[in-house]
């Protein structure tokens, strides 16, 4: 699969991005969680209330994997995504991105982790409406000292081209459809070449057809460019098309299901015509 992957910045590109030395890693594991716990305490007048949002979550995501996190409301999906995205610190446990234990870092370095290693895609896009599409895409690069504006301009346009909305570059997000806005958000998530793209219900605000188109784009990024994607979704059909689904319930991993992806199926059917199953599931009991 790796051999078929392209450089997101374009073939023959002169862009070279480097992580800070302590964040560089040669590991094939993009994300690793070790016994992550998150406890919220709320103090009311009468009593102290303790809510265990995550209760010892551990899993790994390999580079290039497209993992979906599935679970009912209140299961701890969003808390998990916030912790993976370095927006919130766990009560205990460790999170490694590219081999780096990110919660050993102070808040400033954690901001750098969000900037350099993580790309966020939100359900409600969260674009800045006074900025043009291109400026939105380049916004994370503004906070990065690794990419000059001379470099980020063509790169943003290239990403918009890959996502099929290069012609909208000068428009404001409010003038775009929901699907187009989510594509802008995807481009923004990719501008700094993150180790990990985190998508929180990226199709939740879109109709089925548009949602599918957006999902296909994420899939394409994973397959074609080797982008590691972790997606929270309610949509089991879409979850079934990712590499792996992690089911969360009551703050724990209920089960993990490996899916045979379409691309793997196609590759395999070329090699072995006897194989005609689309999806194989491996259920790990926890």
């Amino acid at each position: 699969m790796d051999e078929r992957r392209e450089d997101l910045a374009g073939k023959g590109s002169s862009y070279h991005y480097h992580l800070p030395s302590q964040l560089q890693s040669t590991t094939t594991v993009a994300l690793k969680l070790e016994n992550v716990k998150k406890v919220f305490e709320s103090r009311s007048a009468s009593a102290k209330k303790v809510v265990v949002a995550l209760d010892g979550v551990s899993f790994e995501v390999k580079r290039g994997e497209f993992v979906s996190i599935v679970g009912p409301s209140g299961s701890g999906k969003s808390t998990l995504l916030n912790i993976i995205g370095a927006l919130d610190r766990p009560t205990s446990g460790k999170v490694f991105i590219n081999g780096q234990d990110i919660f050993l870092l102070d808040d400033t370095r954690l901001s750098d982790v969000r900037n350099h290693l993580i790309g966020f895609i939100f359900q409600s896009y969260n674009l800045v409406n006074r900025m043009s599409v291109q400026e939105n895409v380049e916004f994370p690069a503004v906070f990065s000292e690794r990419l000059s504006s001379a470099e980020s301009h063509p790169k943003a346009l290239k990403l918009l081209e890959i996502l099929g909305i290069k012609d909208k570059a000068k428009q404001k997000p409010v003038d775009l459809s929901g699907g187009e806005q989510q594509r802008v958000a995807i481009a923004r998530a990719l501008i700094n070449d993150p180790a990990l793209v985190l998508a929180d219900e990226p199709t939740g605000n879109l109709d089925t057809k548009t949602g599918r188109e957006v999902f296909d784009l994420l899939k394409m990024l994973s397959d074609r460019f080797g982008t590691t994607v972790v997606m929270v979704t309610h949509n089991l059909e879409l979850a079934g098309m990712t590499t792996r689904s992690i089911y969360i319930r009551d703050g724990r991993i209920e089960k993990e299901i490996m899916h045979k992806t379409t691309s793997e199926t196609e590759a395999r059917s070329t090699d072995d015509e006897d194989t005609n199953k689309d999806i194989t599931s491996q259920e790990k009991s926890r």
Partner: protein
């Protein structure tokens, strides 16, 4: 994050809220322009007064019978108790000494004194045909005018005869512009022409001078008139005391102005500027604090002190206006932070550090300050000229007072405006920078 990018992003954010931003900038403009205008006018007035007194001969001491110190501060043993004054201790200075020929002779005998020029002063009405105006009189021997104002010159055709009791010397300001605007009541009633036009008085022309006073014996209002012949016209010297004063000789002044030989003031000419301090001390030794002595240097110093003090008060008032503008910035920025909470959350999620967010919001406050202060300076400078051209002529001869705007003062106001703006933005910006990204992203 580069400075230019920070400015670009902040500028766009302000542009997104044009009306609110404009109104906030307006508040800063009002504050800074008020400061510039008022300081400029005060400095201009101070400079004008200093210039006026600088034109007085520097070796002249101005002596009056009005003590310079307040009566309450005087040692009563020194003046033999002195006359009782209005309101007990007395707020109104009461002359403790009569400036008569004896005093003049005594002062003339002092070392370092080259001349003592006595004078009477009063207000009279001067009239030609049906036009008249009220003017000050400086009754002094005309040959001594050059000692008081060394730069004084008479127009061609003027003749100075110290003994001519019917001779009057007019400043060109009055000779050329005997205007209707300041007609006395009687003259106004008699005047047919009220179109505001002016008349010119020539040398040799006759003028009628009327002195109105209250007769202490009868407590009635009395008038005394006399006809004078214009013997000379004085060119302006830049000192309003001379430039607006009608001059006639001492004997005439004594009779017409009912002075009974009691001079109003004495101009004591020291032999040189270096002798001024010594002469002042000698006079002080003679009469203690019962006599008022003023020197050009002291006046200029007093004006400087007054201007500085007055300027501080005015500056404080303007500063309040600027502080109000700062509160406006706090309100605007705080509202902006509240409205953009979600945007701040996004910024943090995509990797903005606390200090990046702080810088963005502080830059917004700074941009408001820079624009407001810069426009404020321009408006303030123009405002100073505008105010003086509209109202200055009511107080002082028009055109003579111009506001002063030293670069250092303009830079100071600019810096204060900008500093206050940034300081006002500090709390909202800090609040924005400390927002938790999760909480901020959850905000609708």
């Amino acid at each position: 994050m580069k400075v230019i990018q920070t400015f670009r992003i902040s500028f766009k954010a302000l542009g997104d809220r044009k009306v609110r931003t404009s109104l906030t900038i307006l508040m800063v403009i009002v504050g800074s322009s008020l400061m510039v205008t008022l300081n400029g006018i005060v400095a201009g007035l101070g400079q004008f007064a200093t210039d006026v007194f600088s034109r007085l001969a520097p070796n002249i001491l101005f002596v009056t019978s009005i003590p310079m110190d307040g009566p309450g501060q005087r040692d009563d043993a020194d003046n033999g108790g002195g006359p009782p004054t209005f309101l007990g201790q007395g707020l109104i200075p009461v002359p403790a000494i009569t400036l008569d020929q004896t005093v003049v002779d005594r002062l003339e005998s002092l070392a370092g004194v080259s001349a003592v020029i006595p004078s009477y002063q009063a207000r009279i009405t001067i009239a030609v045909e049906n036009r008249s105006q009220i003017a000050s009189v400086l009754s002094v021997q005309p040959e001594n005018l050059k000692i008081i104002a060394p730069t004084l010159e008479f127009t061609e055709g003027s003749t100075i005869d110290p003994k001519d009791e019917s001779a009057i010397y007019l400043p060109s300001l009055i000779a050329n512009n005997l205007w209707v605007g300041e007609l006395s009541e009687e003259a106004a009633a008699a005047a047919d022409n009220d179109d505001g036009s002016t008349a010119t008085i020539m040398i040799g022309q006759q003028v009628n001078v009327t002195y109105t006073y209250i007769d202490l014996a009868t407590a009635s209002r009395q008038s005394k008139s006399e006809v004078f012949t214009v013997a000379g016209i004085m060119k302006p010297v830049g000192n309003p005391t001379i430039d607006r004063a009608v001059v006639f000789n001492l004997d005439t002044g004594n009779k017409l102005l009912q002075k009974s030989g009691r001079y109003d003031s004495l101009f004591v000419a020291a032999e040189s500027t270096d002798h001024v301090t010594q002469v002042e001390k000698e006079i002080r030794d003679l009469y203690g604090s019962d006599i008022g002595i003023t020197t050009s240097k002291a006046i200029i110093q007093s004006i400087g002190e007054f201007t500085a003090g007055f300027g501080s008060v005015i500056s404080s008032i303007a500063l309040v206006a600027l502080l109000v503008g700062s509160v406006g910035i706090i309100t605007t920025m705080y509202t902006s932070v509240t409205e953009r909470t979600r945007e701040i959350g996004v910024m943090k999620a995509i990797g903005a550090r606390d200090r990046n967010v702080l810088a963005l919001f502080l830059t917004e406050a700074a941009i408001i300050g820079i624009i407001g202060a810069s426009i404020g300076l321009i408006v303030g400078v123009l405002g100073g000229y505008g105010v003086l051209s509209l109202f200055g002529s009511n107080l002082l001869p028009s055109g003579e007072v111009t506001p002063r705007y030293p670069w250092s003062e303009l830079a100071r106001v600019w810096a204060i405006s900008l500093g206050l703006s940034v300081a006002a933005g500090l709390y909202p910006a800090w609040k924005a920078s400390k927002l938790s990204p999760i909480v901020a992203l959850r905000r609708e």
